[in-house]
Symmetry: C2
Subunit: 372 residues, 2 copies
């Protein structure tokens, strides 16, 4: 019997909550202290729709941490190892955030609305408290707040058809992570070429929480010719595509990892000389070379049904790493997973296995992503 979840006031509901209930949402999880839809009763169909059609997702849980004031970009640069020189309004960037020891604490998308107003569209940790502490302890002239902003994602190979029908043909010209402030029938939005899948599409950042149902219905109507339907971020697709899930793949408290281990090395140019939190630690790690690397894992045997906790990666029966999430990929006809292995372990390593609840499975490594 599945477990139920009580919807109570200690966790927030999204502005799209009522609309998703009306459209038959069946399960929820909690992310950034807010309910997020899990599925609408047809997990296989929802996966197929993401892969071959177009889906709409309530991803209001991607809360925004707003940095506003003269020092907004100063603070943003302090928070991420990625060099933000050349950052211009309207172009978003993926910006891993580290603590002073170089451990990742979140991996948001930075959206610079202007030089004095920046959003961090965050993963599942209260990094707003972190940003606030840094800002105030350093005496920066910047306010750190959570504005009334809630993303709705349109994802899938037909997503841009819907986006164009909804917003106009300018939306097709947006480069990856580029965004524009606009309105839709008077509903204030930021529209970004982004989303937590590799199937393409946009995210509509709703800037007025009282108009969630209205926006949801508007997207639904515009997408009807392409048979749009409700869904949610899909764990199988994200594994196939090599997307990272903060909370599942790493979390400072329980699964600490640094940016080099997670494969972010190419976006961290230490020679740029910028000051950021964790620089000394990352310089040391870069000099020594990271101890671990992110890997894709194939697991032998019958289809797996996911996992509840991180799994042990073994070689000849000895623990050498961990696998953070597994799933059966219908597209590949194989069990796949992601995790961290010793940096010097090649993809051709033999003698590997993964410890599941019901015993060990023989395993092998592969490069990420599994599918492009």
């Amino acid at each position: 019997m599945p477990f139920s979840i009580h919807v109570g006031p200690n966790v927030r509901t999204s502005p799209f909550f009522e609309a998703t209930v009306a459209d038959g949402v069946r399960s929820f999880s909690v992310y950034n202290h807010m309910y997020i839809p899990g599925n609408f009763g047809d997990p296989d169909g929802e996966y197929d729709r993401l892969l071959h059609g177009v889906a709409m997702w309530d991803v209001a849980v991607q809360r925004q941490v707003e940095l506003a004031g003269p020092d907004a970009m100063v603070l943003a640069q302090l928070l991420t190892p990625r060099h933000l020189g050349g950052t211009r309004p309207g172009q978003g960037r993926y910006v891993p955030l580290c603590d002073h020891d170089g451990w990742l604490i979140n991996d948001p998308v930075l959206l610079p609305l202007s030089q004095t107003q920046v959003w961090l569209s965050i993963a599942d940790s209260d990094v707003g408290l972190w940003a606030l502490a840094i800002a105030r302890e350093r005496g920066l002239d910047v306010a750190v707040t959570e504005p009334d902003v809630s993303p709705l994602a349109i994802q899938g190979p037909l997503a841009m058809e819907v986006a164009e029908a909804l917003l106009g043909d300018w939306v097709r010209a947006l480069r990856p992570f580029a965004f524009r402030e606009t309105e839709l029938d008077g509903i204030p939005l930021v529209v970004a070429r982004s989303g937590w899948s590799k199937q393409g599409g946009v995210e509509l950042y709703l800037r007025d929480g009282s108009r969630g149902t209205e926006l949801w219905e508007r997207v639904k109507r515009a997408g009807a010719p392409w048979d749009i339907g409700p869904g949610a971020p899909n764990d199988i697709e994200r594994l196939e595509s090599g997307l990272i899930s903060y909370g599942a793949d790493m979390r400072r408290q329980t699964l600490p990892a640094n940016p080099f281990e997670m494969g972010f090395g190419a976006m961290i140019d230490l020679s740029a000389g910028h000051d950021f939190i964790g620089r000394a630690a990352l310089e040391r790690i870069a000099a020594e070379g990271p101890a671990r690397r992110r890997v894709g894992v194939f697991l032998d045997g019958p289809p797996v049904d996911g996992n509840r906790q991180p799994l042990t990666l073994l070689r000849d029966g000895v623990r050498i790493g961990h696998v953070t999430e597994i799933a059966h990929s219908r597209r590949l006809g194989r069990n796949i997973g992601v995790g961290l292995a010793p940096a010097d372990l090649g993809d051709d390593a033999t003698g590997l296995s993964v410890g599941l609840a019901d015993g060990e499975r023989a395993a092998s490594l592969t490069a990420l992503p599994f599918l492009r």
Copy 2:
């Protein structure tokens, strides 16, 4: 139809997870990125057991932020407005935490194991990130980590019978919030006279997550003569008892409140001269007097079925405050709630109402707690 919740790896399971599943847990919520049981299929019976017998709760979600090192107490004092002079190992204290502007960001219990090892048993926000940022930005000699510690609560009027049978008669001598490090059949524990109810009892802080099922079974056996059964923190009892729920009653991002508004004024002695984050803001608020005060609310009409979001408190149809959580109290035979009202509004104020999803309910104010 109730919504279901998927148990996946992006949210942690508690060390007691398997034991609660075996004992028939039916619902979960998420708190501090970890699953917490909601009920075991008999909400009324579970409430009665808490009020008249003894219940055992998986409250592993009360994660510990450990401050360890020579500056542990220095950091602890910086984090809370409460004066920590006279704090001694073995005696816990309730310590609201504020940001630089005096807004509450968590309300943990401080457990000083020694002068150089202190736990904050936290409510639902990542205040570990906050503590870490403050420690490192101020150059303090203290490590901020999350140790392997997971509380199991025994609560109810018969709880101390079970605690004595389990641990010995010394446990009865513990004063409120006092604690002791001990072992039970070799299982390392901290035992505290505490718990998130007003029905009395203890919390067993398990210090080895691999022994969760063992501890759960041990408590169950010891409690069998008193008909112990599984349960969870109870929203109705907490409202009746006037307990505060960070996340429901206040949250920095969405329901900001300061300690004076929440009724913590008596524990904040600004004349003690100690340095802490938010002092300037709290001095100003203390001088001006807080604008709002915490109130109990009676709602007229038929029994309510709770609420999903904060509700509006109105006077003569005008918004004057909010009610954060409501429930029907069987003990009182009335609908009750808690919220914030203007500081100068007396309990005898007339013309009040609360906006529910299905319309307004006439309301009146009362002192907290509803029941002792």
